[in-house]
Symmetry: C2
Subunit: 410 residues, 2 copies
């Protein structure tokens, strides 16, 4: 039998999806599973977007332009300008989701063996996208004690080598929910200008900022025109994850030209999704106001419930709909499997993503999980009760150990 | 300014799309452009597929499973079984078009620097997909004199090195239209078993076989279960290129497991397309009968028109909707640009793809173009008249040189 690739073997399985067989078994066994493991919002997609799908009027479901339709790129520009970016349609490459935007950005900017620095914990699939291109991730640890703020810039400088090509950030952050401040971004700006690096900014959660905080992008800062590459998607903004529509946005013409060649090779992004996303740009502000209100309430519920549990610590995330939570456990992979496989409370259980998959440093996240608050408040309350019971029952409970850690770290 | 990647620089531009600016200029100048450059069929998408889009009834446009929905994988299995394959839903990974299926297959099977042998000319984007993974294409020349039949198997053997991991074929072929015979596939089978290689089979044009010829896949041969990887797509089958929906199909469990990890990283294939493609499996045979009749007539028109022109040679393709045609010209890149930019006949011109982009050997295809017969017969006739006039007028006409070549080759 022919051998598969080494990178295919080494490629990490998705920490968000790998426990699916246990969840399916739990459901077959009649348990209710509360899904906090995946960023699939339960929020309804805007009606204008759904109507646009139902009203398609083509007879031939044809390829669009590789870079996206002129209509969509023009309309999307409206959205970006409204959000404070200096962008023209020529800066926008429409992609198959944010995933493809990042895959293309990596290959457009980096060769085999080159390095990208990423604050850790980070979105687990960054490992996969870099693995695909044999690019090396250099993680810099952010910590739960600071709420996962930007690590000191001196640590970035220590990590820079001749092979470093880019810094990759995500704000509001998946998995931590941390929202970078203008000051933090200014520090990053000085760094990338000093070392002439790309600053790749994953902005999938731009809309989701709480407590009146404003989203700031490196794209809002002057002087980064040649360095800034934005990764965007309609998935979370419009609760349209199934559309698989994203964008790579850059004013760097060389990056754009290179990215376009990759885009031409895969021919085109999906046509119906572009029609729907064009309509989505006109979604009224009231839609977002309601969504933000709902997420804020959920976050408050989640954070306050968690911090009341013995040995549990959850910082208060400023954005997105995730939190990385420290639990009094020996091993988050074991715990997340155990709670699905061996535990139930009133016939209910909870699915979470072990945070280990969000660290590339071995050992990182062993007592942390990522939770996505994408279920309604009633279910969220029940999930929290379940979790509290489970933590008390879990054979690998490690309260003392954790207390010590917390004291040491504080 | 930070430097882009070398592979981004070296990445070839799409020969199918790179002349687009000239075509757009021609249109702005008021010329009618007959598009023979791109495999975008003008055939209508089946009504059942369009209706399925209009009748979507979800409120949240959610991610599907990374490997595709259970409904679609089950329904697609029906289609494959009807077409003579031993396939179960577990062998099917649904992808973002055939492009992603091939990208994933390459990374699942091959590491940086490993080699895949491909009969040449081949679909230009194979260069891009291999470039993305730093995999090396080793071309073996098929020739217009044999109608682009499989080159002697001894030439494949000569090309095999310790780094060879796979052979990649496409039948019916894009760009040549050649349809491999059972005997040719049996020869390839013996070869891949002898050297323990993967046989990756791009079957995008399975439906399009003419003159009563039957499509044969390596997947129809016994004993290739661990070696065969099928690349499939709904793009051409249902004239649904804009759906961006394909599949990687293999019974090799290791390949599937590796491929699934890449698929999980990009989360999911498009949701609406899967709903529509599920409906498409029930497209009546009469739809295909009409389409095949239409393409057969177009092919006959194209081939006979071309072979009547002085110095032009076009083999009679057995399938797909492409032909690689030899023209009495000095340089196909120059000619295809010239005919758009400098030429018109009764205010019309023709867009074709220079065949150079379908060869990875330098110099290959310099007097050949690829034509896709995806326009109606009336327009096809006009395009042929245009081309004939253009060839007489083209400053780089090289009739004598070509005659010599033809005599030598026959």
């Amino acid at each position: 039998m022919p051998k598969i690739s080494s990178k295919g073997l080494q490629m990490p399985a998705s920490p968000i999806r790998k426990l699916t067989p246990y969840a399916e078994k739990a459901k077959r066994d009649g348990k209710i599973v509360y899904h906090l493991n995946i960023g699939q919002p339960d929020i309804e997609t805007p009606a204008g977007m759904i109507d646009a799908i139902k009203n398609i009027d083509f007879k031939v479901w044809a390829y669009t332009q590789s870079e996206g339709t002129p209509e969509y790129r023009k309309k999307l520009t409206e959205y970006y300008v409204k959000n404070g970016y200096s962008i023209t349609p020529e800066d926008i490459l429409v992609t198959d989701g944010g995933s493809e935007a990042l895959t293309i950005a990596i290959s457009a900017c980096m060769d085999h063996g080159e390095e990208v620095i990423v604050p850790e914990p980070f979105y687990a699939n960054y490992n996969a996208f870099t693995c695909l291109a044999d690019v090396v991730v250099k993680p810099i640890r952010s910590t739960i004690e600071t709420g996962f703020a930007l690590p000191p810039i001196s640590e970035f400088e220590r990590m820079i080598t001749p092979k470093t090509k880019a810094i990759l950030i995500c704000s509001p952050n998946n998995p931590t929910g941390y929202l970078y401040s203008r000051e933090e971004l200014e520090e990053l700006k000085r760094l990338v200008l000093k070392y002439d690096l790309f600053l790749i900014s994953d902005e999938a959660y731009r809309e989701f900022c709480y407590d009146g905080k404003k989203f700031i992008s490196p794209g809002h800062l002057e002087g980064l025109e040649d360095h800034f590459i934005m990764i965007d998607t309609v998935s979370k903004r419009y609760s349209a994850c199934g559309a698989r529509l994203g964008a790579l946005v850059t004013r760097n013409k060389e990056v754009f030209a290179s990215a376009l060649k990759y885009a031409q090779a895969r021919l085109a992004p999906p046509a119906v999704a572009q029609i729907a996303a064009t309509a989505a740009v006109d979604t009224p502000q009231s839609y977002f106001d309601e969504v933000i209100k709902e997420y804020t309430e959920r976050r408050n519920l989640l954070v306050s419930s968690l911090n009341k549990m013995e040995g549990v610590y959850c910082p208060n995330p400023g954005g997105a709909f995730y939190a990385v939570v420290r639990l009094p456990i020996d091993d988050s992979d074991r715990f997340c499997e155990w709670i699905l496989d061996k535990f139930s409370y009133e016939n209910q259980t909870v699915m979470m993503a072990p945070a280990t998959g969000f660290y590339s440093t071995a050992g990182g996240g062993r007592n942390e999980v990522r939770m996505a608050y994408v279920i309604n408040q009633e279910h969220l309350k029940k999930a929290m009760i379940c979790l509290e019971k489970a933590l008390l029952e879990y054979p690998g409970r490690m309260l003392d150990n954790l207390k010590t850690n917390t004291i040491l770290a504080s």
